[in-house]
Protein backbone atom coordinates (compact mmCIF):
# COMPACT_ATOMS: atom_id res chain seq x y z
CA UNK A 1 0.00 0.00 0.00
CA UNK A 2 1.43 3.41 -1.00
CA UNK A 3 2.04 6.10 1.65
CA UNK A 4 -0.52 8.91 1.87
CA UNK A 5 0.52 12.12 0.09
CA UNK A 6 2.05 15.04 2.01
CA UNK A 7 0.06 17.49 -0.12
CA UNK A 8 -2.95 16.79 -2.32
CA UNK A 9 -4.83 19.33 -4.46
CA UNK A 10 -8.28 18.38 -5.77
CA UNK A 11 -9.83 20.65 -8.43
CA UNK A 12 -8.48 23.79 -6.81
CA UNK A 13 -9.49 27.13 -8.33
CA UNK A 14 -8.75 30.67 -7.24
CA UNK A 15 -9.41 34.07 -8.80
CA UNK A 16 -8.69 37.61 -7.69
CA UNK A 17 -10.35 40.54 -9.43
CA UNK A 18 -10.48 39.12 -12.97
CA UNK A 19 -10.12 35.74 -14.68
CA UNK A 20 -9.13 32.67 -12.60
CA UNK A 21 -5.46 32.49 -11.63
CA UNK A 22 -5.72 28.74 -11.08
CA UNK A 23 -8.48 26.57 -12.54
CA UNK A 24 -9.24 22.96 -11.50
CA UNK A 25 -5.68 22.15 -10.46
CA UNK A 26 -5.16 18.63 -9.09
CA UNK A 27 -1.87 16.99 -8.10
CA UNK A 28 -0.20 15.42 -5.10
CA UNK A 29 3.23 15.16 -3.50
CA UNK A 30 4.37 11.83 -2.08
CA UNK A 31 6.80 11.56 0.88
CA UNK A 32 10.38 12.13 -0.30
CA UNK A 33 9.24 13.58 -3.62
CA UNK A 34 10.56 16.84 -5.13
CA UNK A 35 8.18 18.52 -7.56
CA UNK A 36 9.42 21.25 -9.87
CA UNK A 37 6.66 23.67 -10.85
CA UNK A 38 7.41 25.20 -14.24
CA UNK A 39 5.73 27.96 -16.17
CA UNK A 40 6.30 31.47 -17.46
CA UNK A 41 6.02 34.50 -15.17
CA UNK A 42 2.50 35.44 -14.02
CA UNK A 43 0.99 32.02 -14.62
CA UNK A 44 0.03 31.39 -10.95
CA UNK A 45 3.06 29.45 -9.65
CA UNK A 46 3.57 31.55 -6.52
CA UNK A 47 -0.18 31.56 -5.86
CA UNK A 48 -0.17 27.76 -5.97
CA UNK A 49 2.69 27.66 -3.49
CA UNK A 50 0.89 30.01 -1.09
CA UNK A 51 -2.20 27.81 -1.29
CA UNK A 52 -0.15 24.84 -0.07
CA UNK A 53 0.47 26.34 3.38
CA UNK A 54 -2.77 28.30 3.62
CA UNK A 55 -1.36 31.80 3.02
CA UNK A 56 -4.12 32.02 0.40
CA UNK A 57 -7.48 30.24 0.36
CA UNK A 58 -8.99 28.65 -2.74
CA UNK A 59 -12.39 29.67 -4.08
CA UNK A 60 -13.19 26.05 -4.92
CA UNK A 61 -11.69 22.59 -4.45
CA UNK A 62 -9.92 20.96 -1.54
CA UNK A 63 -6.32 20.99 -0.30
CA UNK A 64 -5.01 18.26 1.98
CA UNK A 65 -1.85 19.11 3.92
CA UNK A 66 -0.37 16.32 6.05
CA UNK A 67 -3.77 14.61 5.67
CA UNK A 68 -5.76 17.60 6.97
CA UNK A 69 -8.20 19.61 4.88
CA UNK A 70 -6.99 23.22 5.06
CA UNK A 71 -9.01 25.09 2.45
CA UNK A 72 -11.52 26.35 5.05
CA UNK A 73 -9.33 25.98 8.15
CA UNK A 74 -9.19 28.94 10.58
CA UNK A 75 -5.92 30.90 10.58
CA UNK A 76 -5.04 29.96 14.18
CA UNK A 77 -5.39 26.25 13.36
CA UNK A 78 -3.05 26.66 10.39
CA UNK A 79 -0.12 27.90 12.51
CA UNK A 80 0.78 24.44 13.93
CA UNK A 81 0.74 23.00 10.39
CA UNK A 82 2.88 25.86 9.04
CA UNK A 83 5.41 25.16 11.79
CA UNK A 84 6.05 21.84 10.04
CA UNK A 85 6.82 23.56 6.71
CA UNK A 86 9.86 25.53 5.56
CA UNK A 87 9.28 28.20 2.93
CA UNK A 88 11.81 30.20 0.90
CA UNK A 89 10.29 33.36 -0.58
CA UNK A 90 11.12 34.93 -3.94
CA UNK A 91 13.34 37.70 -2.56
CA UNK A 92 14.19 35.92 0.68
CA UNK A 93 11.70 37.97 2.76
CA UNK A 94 14.19 38.43 5.61
CA UNK A 95 13.12 40.79 8.40
CA UNK A 96 15.12 44.00 7.88
CA UNK A 97 15.16 44.99 11.54
CA UNK A 98 16.54 41.64 12.76
CA UNK A 99 20.09 40.26 12.53
CA UNK A 100 20.80 37.11 10.50
CA UNK A 101 20.88 35.15 13.76
CA UNK A 102 17.42 36.42 14.79
CA UNK A 103 16.03 35.94 11.28
CA UNK A 104 17.11 32.32 11.14
CA UNK A 105 16.03 31.69 14.74
CA UNK A 106 12.69 33.49 14.36
CA UNK A 107 10.54 30.49 15.27
CA UNK A 108 12.86 29.37 18.07
CA UNK A 109 12.78 32.86 19.64
CA UNK A 110 8.95 32.82 19.45
CA UNK A 111 9.02 29.46 21.26
CA UNK A 112 11.39 30.90 23.92
CA UNK A 113 14.11 28.31 23.28
CA UNK A 114 17.23 29.04 25.45
CA UNK A 115 19.79 31.37 23.82
CA UNK A 116 22.63 28.81 23.89
CA UNK A 117 20.58 26.30 21.96
CA UNK A 118 19.41 28.98 19.51
CA UNK A 119 23.04 30.00 18.81
CA UNK A 120 24.09 26.39 18.27
CA UNK A 121 21.25 25.55 15.91
CA UNK A 122 21.54 28.81 13.95
CA UNK A 123 25.28 28.26 13.45
CA UNK A 124 24.55 24.71 12.27
CA UNK A 125 21.94 25.97 9.76
CA UNK A 126 24.24 28.75 8.54
CA UNK A 127 27.10 26.23 8.18
CA UNK A 128 24.79 24.16 5.94
CA UNK A 129 24.43 27.14 3.57
CA UNK A 130 28.12 28.09 4.07
CA UNK A 131 27.36 31.50 5.58
CA UNK A 132 28.40 31.08 9.21
CA UNK A 133 30.32 34.37 9.10
CA UNK A 134 27.07 36.35 8.61
CA UNK A 135 25.75 35.36 12.07
CA UNK A 136 25.80 38.93 13.49
CA UNK A 137 25.15 40.85 10.28
CA UNK A 138 21.88 42.50 9.20
CA UNK A 139 20.09 41.66 5.91
CA UNK A 140 20.87 45.12 4.52
CA UNK A 141 24.56 44.27 4.35
CA UNK A 142 24.06 40.98 2.44
CA UNK A 143 24.06 40.43 -1.32
CA UNK A 144 20.97 39.05 -3.08
CA UNK A 145 22.42 35.54 -3.22
CA UNK A 146 23.43 35.63 0.45
CA UNK A 147 19.91 36.71 1.44
CA UNK A 148 18.45 33.69 -0.38
CA UNK A 149 20.93 31.38 1.36
CA UNK A 150 20.02 32.85 4.76
CA UNK A 151 16.34 32.37 3.84
CA UNK A 152 17.13 28.74 3.00
CA UNK A 153 18.90 28.34 6.37
CA UNK A 154 15.78 29.76 8.07
CA UNK A 155 13.58 27.29 6.18
CA UNK A 156 15.87 24.34 7.00
CA UNK A 157 16.41 25.18 10.67
CA UNK A 158 13.72 22.96 12.17
CA UNK A 159 14.20 20.17 9.60
CA UNK A 160 10.67 20.64 8.23
CA UNK A 161 8.44 17.91 6.85
CA UNK A 162 7.80 19.88 3.65
CA UNK A 163 9.82 22.57 1.84
CA UNK A 164 8.42 25.23 -0.48
CA UNK A 165 10.82 27.18 -2.69
CA UNK A 166 9.39 30.20 -4.51
CA UNK A 167 11.79 31.03 -7.37
CA UNK A 168 14.88 30.74 -5.15
CA UNK A 169 17.21 31.63 -8.03
CA UNK A 170 15.11 34.39 -9.63
CA UNK A 171 17.19 37.45 -10.52
CA UNK A 172 20.51 35.87 -9.54
CA UNK A 173 23.61 35.40 -11.69
CA UNK A 174 24.31 31.86 -13.01
CA UNK A 175 27.12 31.13 -10.52
CA UNK A 176 25.01 32.13 -7.48
CA UNK A 177 22.02 30.25 -8.93
CA UNK A 178 24.10 27.10 -9.14
CA UNK A 179 25.17 27.56 -5.49
CA UNK A 180 21.50 27.80 -4.46
CA UNK A 181 20.52 24.76 -6.56
CA UNK A 182 23.41 22.81 -5.06
CA UNK A 183 22.03 23.56 -1.57
CA UNK A 184 18.59 22.34 -2.64
CA UNK A 185 20.07 19.15 -4.12
CA UNK A 186 22.07 18.66 -0.91
CA UNK A 187 18.92 19.04 1.22
CA UNK A 188 16.97 16.70 -1.05
CA UNK A 189 19.61 13.96 -1.00
CA UNK A 190 20.64 14.28 2.65
CA UNK A 191 17.23 14.69 4.35
CA UNK A 192 14.82 13.49 1.61
CA UNK A 193 12.33 16.21 2.58
CA UNK A 194 9.39 16.43 0.16
CA UNK A 195 9.39 19.77 -1.61
CA UNK A 196 7.89 21.98 -4.31
CA UNK A 197 10.23 24.25 -6.23
CA UNK A 198 8.78 27.03 -8.35
CA UNK A 199 10.95 28.24 -11.20
CA UNK A 200 10.78 29.51 -14.74
CA UNK A 201 14.46 28.68 -15.33
CA UNK A 202 14.76 25.40 -17.20
CA UNK A 203 18.47 25.16 -16.48
CA UNK A 204 17.86 25.06 -12.73
CA UNK A 205 15.10 22.49 -13.13
CA UNK A 206 17.27 20.21 -15.28
CA UNK A 207 20.25 20.58 -12.93
CA UNK A 208 18.09 19.46 -10.01
CA UNK A 209 16.90 16.46 -11.97
CA UNK A 210 20.24 15.35 -13.40
CA UNK A 211 22.52 15.84 -10.37
CA UNK A 212 22.98 14.33 -6.94
CA UNK A 213 24.86 15.39 -3.85
CA UNK A 214 28.12 13.56 -3.24
CA UNK A 215 28.30 13.50 0.57
CA UNK A 216 31.83 12.06 0.50
CA UNK A 217 33.31 15.02 -1.37
CA UNK A 218 30.76 17.59 -0.19
CA UNK A 219 29.57 18.85 -3.56
CA UNK A 220 27.03 18.23 -6.31
CA UNK A 221 27.92 15.85 -9.17
CA UNK A 222 26.20 14.84 -12.42
CA UNK A 223 24.30 11.59 -12.60
CA UNK A 224 25.50 9.21 -15.35
CA UNK A 225 24.26 10.24 -18.81
CA UNK A 226 20.64 9.31 -19.37
CA UNK A 227 19.87 8.96 -15.66
CA UNK A 228 17.66 11.31 -13.68
CA UNK A 229 16.72 11.51 -10.02
CA UNK A 230 13.60 9.32 -9.75
CA UNK A 231 12.12 11.36 -6.89
CA UNK A 232 12.24 14.64 -8.85
CA UNK A 233 9.26 15.21 -11.14
CA UNK A 234 7.65 18.11 -12.98
CA UNK A 235 4.42 20.07 -12.97
CA UNK A 236 3.69 22.72 -15.58
CA UNK A 237 1.12 25.50 -15.60
CA UNK A 238 -0.34 27.36 -18.53
CA UNK A 239 -2.77 30.21 -17.83
CA UNK A 240 -3.81 28.71 -14.51
CA UNK A 241 -4.30 25.16 -15.79
CA UNK A 242 -2.03 22.22 -15.03
CA UNK A 243 -0.97 20.93 -18.42
CA UNK A 244 1.79 18.52 -17.40
CA UNK A 245 2.45 16.22 -14.43
CA UNK A 246 5.27 13.69 -14.86
CA UNK A 247 8.98 12.89 -15.17
CA UNK A 248 11.73 14.77 -17.02
CA UNK A 249 11.59 12.13 -19.74
CA UNK A 250 7.84 12.64 -20.14
CA UNK A 251 8.33 16.41 -20.23
CA UNK A 252 10.90 16.23 -23.00
CA UNK A 253 8.71 13.85 -25.04
CA UNK A 254 5.48 15.78 -24.39
CA UNK A 255 3.43 16.56 -27.49
CA UNK A 256 1.77 19.59 -25.88
CA UNK A 257 2.48 22.66 -28.01
CA UNK A 258 2.91 24.99 -25.01
CA UNK A 259 5.35 22.58 -23.32
CA UNK A 260 7.37 22.26 -26.52
CA UNK A 261 7.49 26.05 -26.96
CA UNK A 262 8.53 26.51 -23.32
CA UNK A 263 11.30 23.93 -23.62
CA UNK A 264 12.62 25.53 -26.80
Amino acid sequence: MSESPVVAFHNVSIAFAGPPVLADVSFSIAPGETRILLGPAGVGKSVLLKLVNGLLRPDRGSILLFGEEISQMAEENLFPLRNRIGMVFQEGALFDSLSVRDNVAYQLIAERVPDDEIDRRVREALRFVELEETFDLFPGSLSGGMKRRVAIARAFLRQPELLLYDSPTGGLDPVTSTTIIELIVKERDVYRTPSILVTHRLQDAFTLCTHRFDAEHGHMISLPKGQTDPSTTFLMLEEGRLIFDGSLDGLIRSGNVFVREFLQ
Binding site: K50, N53, L55, E75, E76, F79, P80, R82, N83, I85, M87, F89, Q90, E91, A93, L94, F95, D96, Y106, Q107, A110, R154
Partner: protein
Amino acid sequence: MALQTIERTARNLVHTVQDYSLFAWQAFMNLWSPPRYWPDFLIQSDIIGVGSTSIVLLSGFFTGGVLALQSAATLSQFGATAVTGRFVSITMIRELGPVLTGIMVAGRNASSMASELGSMVVTEQIDAMRALGVDPMRELITPRIFACISMLFFLTIVADAFGILGGAAVTVFLNHQNGTQYFSMAWEHLRYPDIIQGLVKPLFSGYIIASVGCFYGMRTSGGTEGVGRSTIQAVVNASVLIIFVDFLITQVLLTLFPSP
Protein backbone atom coordinates in the same frame (compact mmCIF):
# COMPACT_ATOMS: atom_id res chain seq x y z
CA MET B 1 -21.42 55.44 -16.37
CA ALA B 2 -21.65 58.01 -13.56
CA LEU B 3 -24.06 55.75 -11.65
CA GLN B 4 -21.65 52.83 -11.98
CA THR B 5 -18.83 54.95 -10.60
CA ILE B 6 -20.96 56.04 -7.63
CA GLU B 7 -22.01 52.44 -7.01
CA ARG B 8 -18.40 51.20 -7.17
CA THR B 9 -17.20 53.95 -4.85
CA ALA B 10 -20.00 53.27 -2.36
CA ARG B 11 -19.28 49.53 -2.43
CA ASN B 12 -15.54 50.13 -1.87
CA LEU B 13 -16.33 52.47 1.02
CA VAL B 14 -18.63 49.91 2.68
CA HIS B 15 -16.01 47.16 2.19
CA THR B 16 -13.28 49.37 3.66
CA VAL B 17 -15.39 50.24 6.72
CA GLN B 18 -16.30 46.57 7.19
CA ASP B 19 -12.68 45.41 6.84
CA TYR B 20 -11.44 48.14 9.18
CA SER B 21 -14.06 47.28 11.82
CA LEU B 22 -13.12 43.59 11.76
CA PHE B 23 -9.41 44.43 11.78
CA ALA B 24 -9.65 46.88 14.70
CA TRP B 25 -11.87 44.54 16.70
CA GLN B 26 -9.56 41.55 16.22
CA ALA B 27 -6.48 43.59 17.17
CA PHE B 28 -8.24 44.81 20.32
CA MET B 29 -9.45 41.34 21.37
CA ASN B 30 -5.99 39.81 20.88
CA LEU B 31 -4.81 41.53 24.07
CA TRP B 32 -7.07 39.36 26.21
CA SER B 33 -5.59 36.02 25.14
CA PRO B 34 -2.03 34.68 24.77
CA PRO B 35 0.48 34.91 23.19
CA ARG B 36 1.18 38.53 24.14
CA TYR B 37 4.29 40.30 22.91
CA TRP B 38 5.25 42.57 25.83
CA PRO B 39 8.77 43.40 24.52
CA ASP B 40 7.16 44.69 21.30
CA PHE B 41 4.74 46.74 23.40
CA LEU B 42 7.68 48.36 25.22
CA ILE B 43 9.59 49.02 21.99
CA GLN B 44 6.53 50.64 20.40
CA SER B 45 5.86 52.66 23.56
CA ASP B 46 9.39 54.02 23.29
CA ILE B 47 9.01 54.84 19.57
CA ILE B 48 5.58 56.46 19.96
CA GLY B 49 5.90 57.97 23.45
CA VAL B 50 9.50 59.08 23.83
CA GLY B 51 9.90 59.71 20.10
CA SER B 52 6.90 62.06 19.94
CA THR B 53 7.63 63.99 23.15
CA SER B 54 9.57 66.81 21.52
CA ILE B 55 6.96 67.62 18.83
CA VAL B 56 4.10 67.38 21.32
CA LEU B 57 5.95 69.53 23.84
CA LEU B 58 6.78 72.24 21.31
CA SER B 59 3.38 72.28 19.62
CA GLY B 60 1.67 72.39 23.05
CA PHE B 61 3.89 75.23 24.26
CA PHE B 62 3.34 77.44 21.23
CA THR B 63 -0.38 76.68 21.02
CA GLY B 64 -0.75 77.80 24.64
CA GLY B 65 1.26 80.92 23.78
CA VAL B 66 -0.95 81.74 20.80
CA LEU B 67 -4.09 81.17 22.86
CA ALA B 68 -2.80 83.62 25.48
CA LEU B 69 -1.95 86.22 22.83
CA GLN B 70 -5.30 85.97 21.07
CA SER B 71 -7.42 85.76 24.19
CA ALA B 72 -5.64 88.64 25.94
CA ALA B 73 -6.25 90.88 22.90
CA THR B 74 -9.99 90.13 22.97
CA LEU B 75 -10.41 90.02 26.75
CA SER B 76 -8.70 93.40 27.19
CA GLN B 77 -11.66 95.01 25.38
CA PHE B 78 -13.84 93.90 28.32
CA GLY B 79 -11.21 94.58 30.97
CA ALA B 80 -11.00 90.86 31.65
CA THR B 81 -7.36 90.02 30.84
CA ALA B 82 -7.14 88.50 34.31
CA VAL B 83 -9.06 85.42 33.12
CA THR B 84 -6.47 84.57 30.43
CA GLY B 85 -5.16 81.71 32.60
CA ARG B 86 -8.62 80.20 32.94
CA PHE B 87 -9.25 80.48 29.20
CA VAL B 88 -5.92 78.89 28.24
CA SER B 89 -6.06 76.04 30.75
CA ILE B 90 -9.65 75.02 29.99
CA THR B 91 -9.16 75.24 26.23
CA MET B 92 -5.92 73.27 26.35
CA ILE B 93 -7.15 70.59 28.74
CA ARG B 94 -10.60 70.07 27.27
CA GLU B 95 -9.94 70.44 23.58
CA LEU B 96 -6.67 71.58 22.04
CA GLY B 97 -4.32 69.37 24.09
CA PRO B 98 -6.00 66.07 23.12
CA VAL B 99 -6.81 67.03 19.51
CA LEU B 100 -3.47 68.63 18.67
CA THR B 101 -1.54 65.78 20.28
CA GLY B 102 -3.65 63.29 18.35
CA ILE B 103 -3.05 65.02 15.03
CA MET B 104 0.68 65.52 15.66
CA VAL B 105 1.12 61.86 16.67
CA ALA B 106 -1.03 60.76 13.70
CA GLY B 107 1.29 62.68 11.35
CA ARG B 108 4.34 61.08 12.86
CA ASN B 109 3.22 57.58 13.83
CA ALA B 110 0.22 56.61 11.67
CA SER B 111 2.45 57.37 8.68
CA SER B 112 5.40 55.39 10.04
CA MET B 113 3.19 52.41 10.92
CA ALA B 114 1.56 52.41 7.48
CA SER B 115 4.87 52.71 5.64
CA GLU B 116 6.71 50.16 7.80
CA LEU B 117 3.95 47.54 7.59
CA GLY B 118 3.31 48.37 3.93
CA SER B 119 6.97 47.73 3.11
CA MET B 120 6.77 44.44 5.00
CA VAL B 121 3.71 43.45 2.96
CA VAL B 122 5.25 44.22 -0.44
CA THR B 123 8.52 42.44 0.43
CA GLU B 124 6.52 39.39 1.64
CA GLN B 125 7.80 39.73 5.21
CA ILE B 126 4.23 39.51 6.55
CA ASP B 127 3.67 36.32 4.54
CA ALA B 128 7.01 35.02 5.82
CA MET B 129 5.89 35.70 9.39
CA ARG B 130 2.64 33.77 8.81
CA ALA B 131 4.56 30.98 7.09
CA LEU B 132 6.81 30.75 10.17
CA GLY B 133 3.74 30.17 12.34
CA VAL B 134 3.55 33.64 13.93
CA ASP B 135 0.35 35.70 13.81
CA PRO B 136 1.28 39.21 12.54
CA MET B 137 -1.92 40.63 14.08
CA ARG B 138 -0.69 39.60 17.52
CA GLU B 139 2.98 40.46 17.10
CA LEU B 140 2.77 43.65 15.02
CA ILE B 141 -0.67 45.22 15.39
CA THR B 142 -1.87 44.63 18.95
CA PRO B 143 1.32 45.96 20.64
CA ARG B 144 1.22 49.09 18.44
CA ILE B 145 -2.43 49.78 19.30
CA PHE B 146 -1.99 49.44 23.06
CA ALA B 147 1.31 51.32 23.07
CA CYS B 148 -0.33 54.17 21.14
CA ILE B 149 -3.35 54.34 23.49
CA SER B 150 -1.23 54.41 26.64
CA MET B 151 1.40 56.81 25.27
CA LEU B 152 -1.13 59.26 23.84
CA PHE B 153 -2.68 59.53 27.30
CA PHE B 154 0.64 60.70 28.78
CA LEU B 155 1.58 62.82 25.76
CA THR B 156 -1.70 64.70 26.12
CA ILE B 157 -0.84 65.51 29.74
CA VAL B 158 2.56 66.79 28.56
CA ALA B 159 0.88 68.92 25.85
CA ASP B 160 -1.61 70.33 28.37
CA ALA B 161 1.14 71.19 30.85
CA PHE B 162 3.38 72.84 28.27
CA GLY B 163 0.40 74.66 26.72
CA ILE B 164 -0.38 76.24 30.09
CA LEU B 165 3.32 77.06 30.50
CA GLY B 166 3.40 78.63 27.01
CA GLY B 167 0.37 80.73 27.92
CA ALA B 168 2.13 81.74 31.14
CA ALA B 169 5.27 82.76 29.27
CA VAL B 170 3.28 85.01 26.92
CA THR B 171 1.19 86.42 29.78
CA VAL B 172 4.23 87.31 31.89
CA PHE B 173 6.87 88.29 29.31
CA LEU B 174 4.80 89.76 26.46
CA ASN B 175 1.58 90.93 28.08
CA HIS B 176 3.37 91.95 31.31
CA GLN B 177 0.70 90.52 33.58
CA ASN B 178 0.98 88.79 36.91
CA GLY B 179 2.11 85.15 36.68
CA THR B 180 0.60 84.15 40.04
CA GLN B 181 -2.76 85.46 38.96
CA TYR B 182 -2.48 83.51 35.67
CA PHE B 183 -1.76 80.22 37.43
CA SER B 184 -4.37 80.72 40.13
CA MET B 185 -7.03 81.44 37.48
CA ALA B 186 -5.84 78.44 35.50
CA TRP B 187 -6.12 76.16 38.53
CA GLU B 188 -9.14 77.44 40.44
CA HIS B 189 -11.66 77.14 37.66
CA LEU B 190 -10.70 73.65 36.59
CA ARG B 191 -13.32 70.99 37.36
CA TYR B 192 -13.03 67.22 37.29
CA PRO B 193 -15.33 66.95 34.23
CA ASP B 194 -12.84 69.15 32.31
CA ILE B 195 -10.00 66.78 33.16
CA ILE B 196 -12.09 63.67 32.43
CA GLN B 197 -13.04 65.12 29.04
CA GLY B 198 -9.40 65.87 28.25
CA LEU B 199 -8.14 62.44 29.26
CA VAL B 200 -10.87 60.30 27.69
CA LYS B 201 -10.24 61.72 24.21
CA PRO B 202 -6.61 60.51 23.83
CA LEU B 203 -7.71 56.95 24.60
CA PHE B 204 -9.90 57.03 21.49
CA SER B 205 -7.36 59.01 19.43
CA GLY B 206 -4.58 56.53 20.28
CA TYR B 207 -6.76 53.64 19.16
CA ILE B 208 -7.67 55.46 15.93
CA ILE B 209 -4.06 56.41 15.08
CA ALA B 210 -2.62 52.92 15.49
CA SER B 211 -5.54 50.95 14.08
CA VAL B 212 -5.89 53.17 10.99
CA GLY B 213 -2.09 53.30 10.42
CA CYS B 214 -1.76 49.51 10.74
CA PHE B 215 -4.92 48.85 8.69
CA TYR B 216 -3.70 50.82 5.68
CA GLY B 217 -0.20 49.36 6.05
CA MET B 218 -1.47 45.78 6.09
CA ARG B 219 -3.70 46.22 3.02
CA THR B 220 -0.91 47.77 0.92
CA SER B 221 -0.63 46.54 -2.65
CA GLY B 222 1.17 47.77 -5.72
CA GLY B 223 4.80 47.91 -4.64
CA THR B 224 6.58 51.03 -3.40
CA GLU B 225 3.97 53.30 -5.00
CA GLY B 226 1.34 51.46 -2.95
CA VAL B 227 3.34 52.12 0.24
CA GLY B 228 3.23 55.86 -0.46
CA ARG B 229 -0.51 55.68 -1.12
CA SER B 230 -1.15 53.77 2.12
CA THR B 231 0.88 56.31 4.10
CA ILE B 232 -1.16 59.23 2.78
CA GLN B 233 -4.47 57.42 3.37
CA ALA B 234 -3.43 56.51 6.91
CA VAL B 235 -2.54 60.09 7.93
CA VAL B 236 -5.54 61.72 6.24
CA ASN B 237 -8.11 59.24 7.53
CA ALA B 238 -6.66 59.08 11.03
CA SER B 239 -6.62 62.90 11.32
CA VAL B 240 -10.20 63.29 10.06
CA LEU B 241 -11.43 60.44 12.26
CA ILE B 242 -9.75 61.96 15.34
CA ILE B 243 -11.57 65.27 14.83
CA PHE B 244 -14.88 63.52 14.08
CA VAL B 245 -14.65 61.26 17.17
CA ASP B 246 -13.57 64.30 19.24
CA PHE B 247 -16.79 65.99 18.19
CA LEU B 248 -18.87 62.95 19.22
CA ILE B 249 -17.10 62.53 22.57
CA THR B 250 -17.44 66.23 23.35
CA GLN B 251 -21.15 66.04 22.63
CA VAL B 252 -21.61 62.98 24.85
CA LEU B 253 -19.48 64.32 27.72
CA LEU B 254 -21.16 67.73 27.66
CA THR B 255 -24.48 65.92 28.00
CA LEU B 256 -23.17 63.81 30.88
CA PHE B 257 -21.38 66.71 32.62
CA PRO B 258 -23.21 69.92 31.68
CA SER B 259 -21.43 73.25 32.32
CA PRO B 260 -22.46 74.88 35.62
